[in-house]
């Protein structure tokens, strides 16, 4: 029998065959635009690792991120990710409460010192000593510092943890900040979105478990999912290129499905995978439902002027919504196909170091 401490043993116990496992990895690799050969390497590698200890801390948040990840195509393939990790602390999902819950957290920190992954959703209030949000009598600030200290990596899930989100919106009464503002000496992966797309969260976790931290952009977002803007991959893009815009929500243009740019769509300045992965098991995404993108995965989206104000008319204090992004968005109109291809080439290049050989021989 296989070593029960390894994921392979765990899979046997659950009756999950390697075939199912490979199928999971193939879907993940495809979603992340990795080379298909990476799926096999991922499956072989994942079987030989220990079940990864994960501590999930929820601070100033609405639990929407947890809602999103726990409903990732349930009860289907993607939810298998929960069998691949050991979720040692998550105060919304765990059965234990009170002292027992905090004890579980401390125990996991002790047993997996320097090896556990810390997932954070929600921002951290630091005004007035952090009194505006506490868990078990401990401020969010103290708890984050304590748990991050011995973590291998920190994953900031959702716009609040990644960028401060709604709690940080002007006038920011609690002094809310992001994880990266507090944790300065650990690798951080930001998975913004309000909430993030389920498969983006599971995909990034699968990547961390196997190949380590994926390639990130300047805002520490995984390039595989946040490399393109919504506008780059929008099916309404041809209308933008032809100058066909809806002018109000019930005019002829809106009914014909023209571009929503003039109705305040933030697609050109928003980096996320909604236009390709979509929502609710691939059903639709805001633009497909006739509403512009509100840019929920970008920093300070709540303070970026009105949701219905066109970005061409200026969006309040620009901040990260740089004018340069607009120009870049327009220049990228040459063809999303080309963009897609070059993106894939980059992702493939970055991953070519990992081959089946690297993972220890043939799959025979």
């Amino acid at each position: 029998m296989s070593d029960n401490n390894l994921l392979a043993g765990e899979l046997e116990r659950l009756g999950i065959t390697r075939r199912t496992f490979l199928k999971f990895c193939t879907s993940m690799a495809s979603a992340m635009a990795l080379s298909p050969a990476a799926a096999l390497a991922m499956a072989e590698k994942l079987a030989t690792v220990k079940r990864q200890s994960v501590i999930w801390l929820s601070f100033q948040e609405c639990t929407g991120c947890t809602e999103s990840i726990t409903r990732s195509h349930k009860p289907s393939l993607e939810s298998l990710i929960f069998d691949f990790i050991s979720l040692d602390y998550h105060h919304t999902l765990q059965a234990a409460s009170g002292d027992a819950a905090e004890l579980a957290r401390e125990q996991a920190m002790h047993e997996n010192q320097g090896k556990y992954i810390l997932i954070v959703d929600g921002s951290i209030p630091i005004k007035d000593g952090g009194v505006y949000s506490t868990i078990a009598g401990m401020t969010n600030l103290d708890m984050l510092q304590q748990v991050a200290k011995d973590a291998a990596a920190v994953v900031a899930v959702g716009s609040c943890a990644a960028f401060g989100g709604l709690p940080k919106a002007s006038p920011n009464p609690t002094g809310a900040v992001s994880v990266a503002d507090i944790v300065l000496d650990k690798p951080i992966i930001n998975i913004p979105g309000c909430p993030p797309i389920p498969v983006v969260m599971t995909g990034v976790l699968a990547h961390v478990l196997t190949f380590g931290i994926p390639e990130l952009d300047s805002m520490r977002r995984p390039k595989a999912f946040y490399g393109d803007s919504i506008h780059d991959r929008c099916y309404r893009r041809p209308y933008y290129d032809r100058g066909q815009f809806a002018k109000s929500f019930d005019d002829e243009g809106a009914r014909k499905g023209w571009c929503l740019y003039e109705l305040g769509c933030k697609g050109p300045v928003t980096h996320n995978a909604c236009a390709t992965v979509k929502w609710n098991n691939g059903t639709s995404f805001p633009i497909q439902s006739g509403h512009g993108c509100i840019g929920c995965s970008e920093p300070d989206f709540w303070d970026a002027g009105g949701f219905y104000k066109s970005i061409s008319t200026g969006i309040g204090e620009p901040g990260q919504w740089a004018a340069g992004a607009l120009a870049a968005g327009a220049a990228a109109g040459l063809g999303s196909a080309y963009l897609n291809k070059s993106k894939k080439a980059t992702v493939e290049k970055d991953h070519k170091a990992v081959t089946i050989e690297d993972m220890g021989g043939d799959h025979e």
Partner: protein, 139 residues
């Protein structure tokens, strides 16, 4: 004169991707013949239109083998009319397509029984035989 209504369907344009995929397939099939090297193409990563997809499917056709796996949703694996070129589709329980690949190999990787699963099967079989020995029942 009586007017008639003709249903009009707007066809998705061909992008020319089919030719590119075909020549890629040819190169990899040649490699399989010469050196046994296998390859996988992820179709969802290619900017193909719906009509491209249909055209490619028609061109490759169906061969002799069709395999259905049932592992948390179906996987349908079809050998095309060109031996060694397999069309692989993975679905979830809701019958949504999760991944679509073309695999150039003698047998697609996922069809093979994995050594770990085989070891597990051997263990189970031994247990079954031992149990039946103990109870004296015939297997």
């Amino acid at each position: 004169m009586k007017s008639i209504n003709l249903p009009i369907e707007i066809a998705e344009p061909s992008t020319g991707m089919v030719q590119a995929v075909l020549s890629e397939l040819m190169q990899h099939l040649q490699q399989l013949v010469e050196s046994g090297l296998t390859h996988v193409i992820d179709l969802s990563s290619l900017p193909m239109s719906g009509s491209d997809r249909t055209q490619l499917e028609t061109l490759l056709g169906n061969g002799e083998a069709q395999v259905i796996l049932t592992t948390i949703g179906e996987s349908r694996i079809i050998e095309t009319a060109y031996s060694g070129i397999w069309w692989v589709r993975h679905y979830n329980l809701e019958q949504q397509l999760l991944a679509e690949l073309i695999e150039i190999a003698q047998v697609p990787e996922i069809i093979k029984s994995h050594p770990a699963d085989i070891r597990q099967a051997l263990h189970r079989l031994k247990t079954t035989i031992e149990l039946s020995d103990q109870t004296g029942e015939q297997v």
